[in-house]
């Protein structure tokens, strides 16, 4: 490290109370921003959980659908048309619905029912107990063992229940990549059983899932589906559509955005203010350095270094604190949705850079303005 930066570092960290105040400000801001965005990211992931869990490459849906669980049923010709498109390896229907399940204890519990194509079981979950072929048995259902599992009173293979006055029996337990957002359990069965057991509208196909022959066929398939008046989205596009809906069309996104902005402003003002005070109180020192012969760019490098050093440490502490908090929260609350992603880390880092940038900009301006003479005249 160059000597001048070493001096900058000593001036900074040897002033323990101010350095601590600076760190607390930035750590707090990073913590708040990471918490807010992680919460949001967790919620968004969960809102798309069905899309991840089913795992199909292409989803065909009514253009008005903006949420996997509130599908709009499509007429059967969409399925047959999809099967006829060049580049489609196979296309299958998927049923998505909700049913009231009457449990052993007599209590009712709402559940999401997913009906998989009878022939292929395309989109099947990974079983942790039972055999997937048992799904063809009488009244057979597979229960997902996610955070909501306990709401079904922890059923096991062989447990039976009532679903819309039909008998249902658990033949397997599945695990999924992501829990849902709405806090209700998910059960799988075959498409044909689902539409028999659950009251439906005239149309019963919630989605048509398509496996293309190759990824290069996707644009053509999308184009053909669009000609039918429907929408074919890749998994990522569908996830984005759902996320955009929650972000922009519900209060949630705006609120989180607002809270994140507020935490950013709070962090910026705490650390900006503290850094500014730090610079002000050291103005005399910077003036002395100037008088001794430090050049403007050397003073600037000192300030940038001080701001960057504090910011990066504060960033590390803030992220660490948020992670610890989330790990602890998850221990107590299985449903806790927050998740830290690389995007969030990048975003928070960017915000910290802005905080450091603004703070040092103010500091640099102040320091370049000082006339050592004004300080020495005494």
């Amino acid at each position: 490290m160059s000597g001048i930066l070493k001096i900058a570092l000593k001036l900074l960290v040897n002033d323990k109370s101010k350095f601590t105040a600076l760190l607390v400000g930035i750590t707090f801001a990073v913590f708040l921003m990471v918490m807010m965005t992680s919460m949001f990211s967790g919620i968004l992931t969960r809102s798309s959980s069905s899309v991840y869990n089913i795992g199909a490459k292409i989803w065909v849906m009514d253009p008005a659908v903006n949420n996997a669980t509130s599908s709009i049923p499509m007429p059967d010709y969409v399925l047959s048309a999809a099967r006829g498109i060049r580049g489609v390896k196979y296309a299958v229907p998927l049923f998505f619905g909700t049913a009231q399940v009457k449990l052993k204890s007599g209590a009712y519990q709402a559940a999401t029912v997913v009906g998989l194509d009878d022939a292929t079981l395309y989109g099947r979950p990974e079983l942790i107990k039972g055999n997937i072929n048992d799904i063809y048995g009488d009244n057979a259902f597979i229960v997902v063992k996610d955070a909501e599992y306990t709401k079904l009173e922890k059923p096991d293979v062989g447990t039976d229940f009532e679903i819309n006055d039909y008998r249902g029996v658990v033949v397997g337990l599945a695990k999924v990549a992501s829990s849902g957002l709405f806090g209700i359990p998910t059960i799988y069965t075959t498409y044909s059983r689902a539409i028999t057991y659950i009251p439906t509208t005239r149309f019963t196909t919630s989605y048509v899932l398509i496996e293309p022959k190759s990824d290069s066929d996707i644009p053509y398939i999308q184009q053909q589906i669009q000609k039918l008046g429907y929408q074919a989205l890749t998994r990522d596009q569908f996830v984005k559509k759902i996320s955009d809906f929650y972000t922009f069309k519900t209060g949630m996104g705006m609120n989180i955005l607002l809270m994140t902005t507020i935490s950013f402003i709070v962090g910026l003002s705490i650390s900006g203010q503290t850094f500014y005070t730090f610079i002000l109180e050291n103005l005399e020192k910077f003036g002395a350095l100037k008088a001794i012969g430090a050049k403007g760019k050397e003073l600037i490098s000192m300030i940038l270094f001080q701001a960057a050093f504090t910011s990066f440490i504060g960033y590390g502490l803030g992220v660490g604190l948020a992670s610890t908090f989330m790990i602890l929260a998850r221990l107590r609350l299985p449903d806790y949705a927050a998740q830290i992603t690389f995007t969030i880390l990048g975003f928070a880092f960017l915000m910290v850079l802005i905080i450091a940038g603004v703070s040092s900009y103010i500091g640099v301006r102040k320091v370049l303005q000082i006339q050592p003479f004004d300080i020495f005249r005494g």
């Binding site: 001048i4 000593k10 001036l11 012969g293 050049k295 050397e298 006339q371 005249r377």
Partner: protein, 234 residues
């Protein structure tokens, strides 16, 4: 070759504008020679600090020039003036302006570090200079643990560590008791002054007049008198 280290020519400095305008230095000219101690004396507010600051490249005059090695420093770029402050001029401020968050040795090392000397080497050299001013054992202490006279010596060590040609003191004895003040100036005269350096001291402490080679009187921004201390002539 003339023996002039630095020359001030018709320096004028004012502060404020219109009604609020105070002219702090009025048309001041003088030359400081190598191997000599020059005093500037005068009552408080007479413009001594303002004049020193203009000479040392810290405060830009409104009119006039400061000639160093044949060139007007106030015609130079900011960075070159900074280089001159770093390499040619050592300034000991009235209130020392030491850095409380650095050790005494680090304080003295600052000009060396600004000259891009490596950290360890700079500290080694700084300790040598602290030794010169008799404070080697204080090297690792923060300056505020030192007495006023010791802090003054640290400030001197810092000013001379950069090996300046011209050493400038603003009221070096003002906050010291008479005895310490005398010792400091005596020390500067016997240990630091040589044929290649020149010392300018602002003071209104008559107890230290005996060390001066020339004494320049200021009043109300003007240089009103100049005398040589003939007892110093060999």
């Amino acid at each position: 070759m003339s023996n002039v280290a630095i020359r001030a020519e018709n320096l004028v400095k004012w502060f404020g504008e219109e009604d609020a305008k105070t002219v702090a230095v009025k048309n001041a000219s003088f030359a400081a020679e190598y191997g000599q101690i020059h005093y500037i004396v005068g009552p408080s507010g007479s413009g001594k600090t303002t004049l020193l600051s203009m000479i040392s490249g810290i405060l830009k005059p409104n009119e006039g020039s400061v000639i160093l090695e044949g060139e007007d420093i106030w015609g130079m770029s900011e960075d070159r003036i900074a280089d001159i402050r770093l390499n040619k001029i050592g300034f000991v401020f009235q209130d020392y302006h030491l850095f409380p968050r650095l050790t005494t040795a680090e304080n003295v090392a600052i000009p060396l570090i600004l000259k891009k000397m490596g950290w360890n080497e700079a500290l080694t050299v700084a300790i040598e200079y602290l030794d010169i001013v008799g404070l080697k054992e204080r090297a690792q202490l923060p300056p505020y643990k030192l007495s006023g006279g010791e802090q003054q010596r640290v400030a001197i060590a810092r000013a001379i560590a950069g090996k300046p040609d011209i050493l400038i003191f603003d009221e070096p004895t003002a906050s010291l008791d008479g005895d310490t003040g005398r010792k400091i100036v005596d020390f500067v005269k016997t240990k630091i002054l040589n044929e290649k350096s020149c010392i300018i001291i602002v003071t209104h402490d008559s107890r230290i007049y005996e060390f001066a080679d020339t004494i320049m009187k200021m009043e109300d921004g003007k240089i009103i008198g100049f005398e040589k201390n003939h007892s110093h002539e060999k």
